[in-house]
């Protein structure tokens, strides 16, 4: 049985070209990038090339690119780093941070930790379509607001947040403020990189997080773009790597892989082709599922959304059961059901969008990647309606 992978928002396979670029750095060019000898120089060259590749994609300076262990660390560094720096001179300074209710846990959990450091946090609500509203951003800004962190693309429903517009609001507020009271803008662009324009000046962000393993690179490598002049304290201390902002021996092979993966994203024609195909597959799936499965719901705005994402709710079925039955057919998807979350809480994203809990339990996310084909969608369409019908038949709730 051919296995079909439709969970690209969870992670992607490493592209063979990326793997090829990485390989020498495990063995022949294994040096420590901080060493002065030729082994170290080779490794250093690999790291710096990757930095330039990322800088080219973001259209920033290469010194503004900091490599991390992944986007979770990037987000931690952005939020903790900025808040702690703001308080470095005045520990009692009142600090306010704005984020959205639909952020990834790598931002939400950081905010929860910040709360313990007496930081006030506003979680912006979202519309039914899964989008942050600009008037809510405006209303939330206070004199003590120093940081706004809004994800570029939501990982569960794929909605594209109005980053440029939020940046414009912040710019206007900042025009009336001194440098010390400036609001900085961070975006978690992990789910955006494959599909959206990530040029940082165009977006108007001060910090931006990326992850390698969502863009056909390796796990364990990420980036935080930090615009020059953004005041930040490190959160990891040690050997002063990455200009002292992120200590720790560079994950050279991983960083090289990240650079190569990002480089592939700068091939605009190729990306356009890949995404047009992905969109075709996604649109076919959405159209057919809504037609074939009774009371199926599509979650999230269909227009302000990346082409790779489809997120459905099937009433009176539980998502984990669907996931496992699909897995038995060799098809991999994910779910926002409480039963699979570990916390036994249903998806915080769908909940914030106003989807009722009994419906949220039946949520299924399908995310496409560049290797998916029409046959993959057809296989899914062939088995999913039967699985939902079978589970509904098992359910005590009859419609």
């Amino acid at each position: 049985m051919k296995r079909i992978y439709l969970d690209h928002s969870a992670t992607t396979p490493v592209d063979p070209k990326v793997l090829r670029a990485m390989k020498p750095y495990f063995t022949a060019d294994f040096g420590n990038a901080s060493s002065l000898h030729s082994f170290g120089q080779k490794a250093r060259a690999g790291v710096e090339k990757a930095r330039e590749q990322v800088a080219k994609f973001l259209e920033c300076e290469s010194k503004e690119v900091i490599f991390t262990s992944g986007a979770t660390e990037s987000n931690n560094l952005a939020l903790f780093g900025l808040v702690r720096r703001a308080r470095a001179l005045d520990l009692k300074r009142k600090v306010h941070v704005i984020t959205s209710a639909i952020e990834h846990p790598a931002v939400l959990e950081v905010c929860r930790e910040l709360k313990k450091e007496e930081v006030e946090v506003t979680y912006l609500p979202v519309s039914r379509a899964g989008l942050v509203r600009l008037e809510d951003v405006k209303k939330a800004i206070r004199p003590e607001t120093i940081l706004i962190s809004i994800m570029y693309v939501n990982n569960e429903v794929g909605t594209i947040q109005p980053i440029q517009e939020i940046s414009q609001i912040i710019k206007e507020v900042n025009a009336g403020r001194g440098k010390e009271d400036k609001i900085y803008f961070h975006t978690d662009a992990v789910q955006a990189a494959n599909f959206c324009d990530c040029r940082v000046d165009w977006l108007g962000v001060d910090m931006l997080s990326l992850s390698a393993h969502k863009i056909y690179g390796p796990k364990g490598t990420g980036v935080l773009f930090i615009k020059s002049g953004t005041p930040l304290l490190p959160i990891i201390f040690g050997g002063h790597q990455e200009r002292g902002i992120r200590s720790g021996t560079e994950n050279v092979a991983g960083i090289v892989g990240m650079g190569r993966a990002v480089e592939m994203l700068t091939d605009k024609n190729e990306i356009k082709k890949i995404n047009a195909n992905i969109k075709k597959l996604r649109d076919k799936l959405v159209g057919e599922i809504l037609k074939k499965i009774p009371s199926a719901i599509l979650n999230g705005d269909l227009k302000q959304r990346v082409p790779g994402n489809a997120n459905f709710c099937f009433k009176n079925v539980e998502g984990e059961s669907i996931l496992l039955m699909l897995d038995m057919e060799g098809i991999a998807v994910s779910t926002g059901s409480a039963c699979s979350s570990g916390s036994l809480e249903p998806s915080h994203v769908l909940t914030a969008m106003g989807v009722s809990p009994e419906v949220t339990h039946g949520s299924v996310r399908v995310t496409f990647g560049k290797d998916n084909s029409r046959e993959d969608v057809e296989r899914l369409l062939k088995v999913l309606p039967g699985i939902v019908a079978r589970l509904r038949k098992m359910s005590p709730i009859k419609k």
Binding site: E318, C339, P357, E358, H361, M394, S395
Partner: protein, 131 residues
Amino acid sequence: MSQVIYSKEVIKHFKSPHNQGVIKNPTVVGESGNPLCGDMMKLYLKIDKKKVGGKEVDYIKDIKFETLGCAAAIATSSMITDLVKGQPLEVAAKVTKANIAESLGGLPPIKLHCSVLAVEALHDAIKKLKK
């Protein structure tokens, strides 16, 4: 996310649950769970009398379940029907969530509460019978 890895037995029962469905004229129906929490269960019981050690007792002649829930909820539903079918009510009432989990080759810690669902549905049925 916590790791949820199911035993072979759980997957077996999830794939092909035993005694799934409804009994047309049940003696009693036990219910548990709540759709808000994502799981809900109904147990249909047919009670009859049989002689055990010269004494006439009520026993579960037939049992079927309907469940809305995850793999653990479905597997525990299936397992409780196996454990109590043909058993005197008094014996069935003593089945615990630990018995169910054990018979399934264990449940992931986060899923242990699913076995409560099955026991609660059975207890609900027995309570209704006593009324």
